[in-house]
């Protein structure tokens, strides 16, 4: 003898199927509602995001921006072998230093032996981050031993940081000698 039930034996299965279909339909509806208008305008992203990105405040600038206020450095840096090196690599981002063309905070400056670590970030022979043609590398302390000086010397005792060959060239000239592979 069967007990009497209020619902048909398959009713829950039908209900679940309906729920899934409705949920799917709601999903499609929600997609239409929430999808940004410019989605897919150029590719798989919100087209208006380009506008947003354009309005993001720049943190880094070019060396030209620094030159506007730092004339003395400009004269040295622009003429030297480091002319292609960005000021911000060695100091810090423009935005932390200048806001609306006004000085707002000190720019970090490396001092003493920090300078050595800074130079070796790019010029370390062992790391050889780039081919020798693009960046000359030295090994320490051999570089100093070759120059016959105390190995405790710091790089900026011989190399002007903003134009590393400025003093070196001057010294060669004073002695009437030609530097090997002189680039001028």
């Amino acid at each position: 003898m069967e007990k009497k039930y209020k619902s048909a034996y398959y009713s829950h299965v039908v209900k679940i199927a309906l729920i899934l279909i409705i949920a799917g339909g709601l999903g499609v509806w929600a997609r239409g509602l929430f999808l940004p208008d410019t989605m897919g305008q150029y590719g798989h992203y919100r087209g208006s995001d380009l506008e947003d990105q354009r309005n993001v405040e720049l943190r880094n600038h070019t060396n030209e921006s620094c030159y506007e206020c730092h004339r003395p450095i400009r004269l040295i840096h622009k003429a030297g072998v480091h002319k292609t090196v960005s000021c911000e690599v060695c100091h810090g981002p423009y935005a932390d230093h200048i806001k609306d063309d006004k000085y707002v905070a000190k720019m970090p400056v490396k001092r003493d032996m920090e300078i050595k670590a800074l130079c070796l970030r790019c010029h370390n022979k062992i790391i050889r981050a780039r081919p020798e043609e693009s960046i000359k590398v030295v090994a320490m302390p051999q570089h100093l031993e070759e120059k016959k000086v105390d190995v405790g010397h710091n790089c900026n005792q011989c190399h002007m940081v903003h134009d590393p060959l400025l003093w070196v060239k001057a010294a060669y000239e004073m002695m009437g000698m030609e530097m090997k592979g002189d680039k001028k």
Binding site: E2, K3, Y5, K6, S7, A8, Y9, Y10, S11, H12, V13, K15, I16, L20, G27, A30, R31, F34, L35, M39, H44, A117, L120, N124, K125, I126, I127, A129, A139, M140, P141, Q142, V151
Partner: protein, 397 residues
């Protein structure tokens, strides 16, 4: 020039990594994410062993493992939401599906699996929900009626239909569980820039370790919960679980070692970096902890426990202890893969170190909270649906 002659330059180089590699971006949260999805997939496999492959002795844990899987699945997204920030944007992934992005696939893969798991639970517990609903009052009554999908029909005909559907859901659930977790492994295995991750074995290893952790999790939870509530434990069930644990662990451990061995044997140009990584920053967490302590010891014990019939008391002592060790092994494996892969420079020069902090956004405390949450959720689920067959109301099934 001898190496010693370089002196200072070498000192500047050791631990040198390029600045963009300095930070370990995928930290504890990304360790937990595959760990939790792994527990889910593994627990689901346990239930399928009963529901699909008819391993009768697993009956006592077959339903519990589904609820266990659900509790963890609910929390599987939490580490990701915390890691990425902006949880309010999570739905964008569903609104703008991107077929070419493996990571973006998560939304649909996860949701599909969630639906299947939830449906299976609803169908399996429907007679229970109906029975409990008749006794319940107020809000609980409404909840049971929702769980029973508003139907009170538990006639033989209805149950037969349910049974068919359960079999079907469990059957498609297996490939889906495998896919969900294999996919998590693929996320890592597909990153060709990282020699520690980029191997087609990665999905397989993730999947096997998922099964292992899920089974171990069920063993620990089963024995612990039964002991705490003073109910007796089905030794036969534990013995079977241990056998499966051993079986999956053989495969898991072998493939983990094979993966390393093939790197070593092929010795391609990445090997010197990997070697430096395994013998350097990962030495303790990989060789000592993951392999030495938490793989070899459980491996031997599991072998004996599977081959020799231990006395009940002894089995019920060792089973949870070894299972906890296995759970730690899998956590370590996730750590060594996820964090380990980021400790080396992508330039393959030098390695960095990583120490998790307690109070960071993605620190140890948030990690603990995220791991405790599924346990709390499981406890809440237990208030509504009975874990065990001998619980009140469950006999209706």
């Amino acid at each position: 020039m001898s190496v010693a002659a370089h002196g200072e330059t070498i000192a500047a180089v050791s631990n040198y990594i390029f600045p963009n590699d300095f930070h370990v971006h995928w930290s504890l949260m990304i360790v937990l994410y595959p760990y939790i999805t792994g527990l889910v997939a593994g627990a689901f496999i346990v239930s399928s062993l009963y529901h699909v492959f008819h391993i009768k002795s697993l009956k006592p844990v077959a339903r519990f493992s589904l609820l266990f899987a659900l509790a963890f699945l609910i929390c599987a997204t939490w580490p990701l939401l915390n890691h990425l920030g902006h949880p309010e944007r999570a739905m964008s992934m569903m609104l703008t599906p991107n077929p070419t992005s493996a990571m973006a696939g998560f939304g649909y893969i996860y949701s599909a699996y969630f639906i299947v798991l939830l449906l299976e639970i609803i169908f399996i517990f429907r007679p229970v929900s109906v029975a409990l609903g008749q006794k319940a009052t107020g809000g609980l009554k409404t909840l049971y009626s929702v769980l029973a999908i508003g139907s009170d029909n538990v006639s033989a005909k209805a149950l037969k239909l349910d049974h068919k559907i359960i079999g079907f859901l469990a059957a498609i659930g297996i490939p889906m569980a495998c896919f969900l977790h294999g996919y998590v492994g693929f996320i890592f295995g597909g990153i060709k820039a990282n020699p520690l991750w980029a191997t087609p074995l990665m999905p397989l290893i993730f999947l096997l370790s998922a099964c292992v952790s899920g089974i171990a999790g069920i063993i620990v939870a089963y024995i612990l919960l039964r002991k705490l509530s003073g109910k007796d434990i089905d030794v036969d069930c534990v013995q079977t679980l241990i056998k499966f644990l051993w079986g999956f662990f053989i495969l898991d451990f072998t493939f983990e070692m094979l993966e390393l061995f093939s790197h070593f044997y092929m010795a391609n140009h990445h090997w010197h970096t990997l070697e430096a990584l395994y013998s350097g920053p990962l030495y303790n967490t990989f060789w000592v902890a993951q392999v030495g302590i938490f793989s070899v010891i459980p491996f031997v014990f599991l072998m004996f426990m599977s081959l020799i019939r231990f006395k009940d008391g002894l089995l019920l002592f060792f089973a949870p202890v070894i299972s906890v060790m296995i759970l730690i092994q899998v956590l370590l494996m996730r750590w060594n893969v996820v964090v380990g892969g980021q400790l080396m420079s992508k330039s393959e020069r030098g390695a960095t170190t990583f120490h998790p902090m307690w109070l960071e956004k993605e620190g140890i405390l948030p990690a603990i909270i995220i791991m405790v949450a599924p346990v709390v959720i499981l406890w809440l689920i237990g208030k509504v649906l009975p874990f065990w067959m001998d619980d009140k109301g469950a006999e209706a099934a």
